[in-house]
Symmetry: C2
């Protein structure tokens, strides 16, 4: 899997770019798609791929190092930490998705949508290819 393709940002979405990236990297680590010891793209590589400033990516890497998700190795590139990439159990991973699902549920209620229709659409989206 090329991490450069797995990560994306929506600059106009209203959420800061650095947060989007942090969230995504956390999820990939929790889901086991980032293996302990594997190399992260360099700040310059990722910044170029995403068309953002290298210092923005550096900020992401710094904050994730503080969380224990990544290991910083100046001159060598960042690495996925053992702790950070420990694949979590399904319940823990579901808990990471809970916030987004709560938001979806709230929006569905504001829109007065039937649960069955909402669940059908989500199922369709879950089954689509990336």
């Amino acid at each position: 899997m090329s991490l450069l393709h797995a990560l994306s940002v929506s600059p106009g979405s209203g959420e800061p770019i650095y947060r989007q990236l942090m969230d995504q990297i956390r999820r990939l680590a929790a889901g086991g798609q980032l293996q302990p010891g594997s190399e992260m793209p360099s700040v310059r590589e990722l910044a170029q791929a995403l068309a953002v400033n290298p210092m923005t990516v550096s900020k992401v890497y710094s904050l994730l190092e503080l969380e224990g998700v990544l290991l910083r190795r100046r001159g060598l590139g960042m690495q996925v930490a053992d702790q950070g990439a420990a694949t979590h159990g399904q319940d823990e991973r579901l808990a990471l998705l809970r916030g987004t699902l709560q938001r979806a549920a709230l929006e569905a209620k504001q829109l007065e949508l039937e649960p069955a229709a909402v669940l059908a659409l989500l199922q369709q989206l879950l089954e689509e290819k990336p």
Copy 2:
């Protein structure tokens, strides 16, 4: 229904407050929970209830007036416009939820979660009382 209780903001969520409010009001209008001709709370009322600045609420109201969702009436308070509150069909309302569900689906995939588990949790959240 008290609109003051139906609206909320999460200031630390990373999404601008004014966008959160606009999104919510749009959804309530599309879902028929805001009736044409009904009164919106004053900018001061809503600002106080949400602990934000009145000019922030005024910005929301101005932008929604540009969209045709609200009608501005200086000195009289804002009103829900006819066009804005036209209850949309289910397909149109589902389309308004699609963005959030796509995000949820993407996050579930990043977390390597089984669709069945995701759908079960969303169903539970949809059935919970507000």
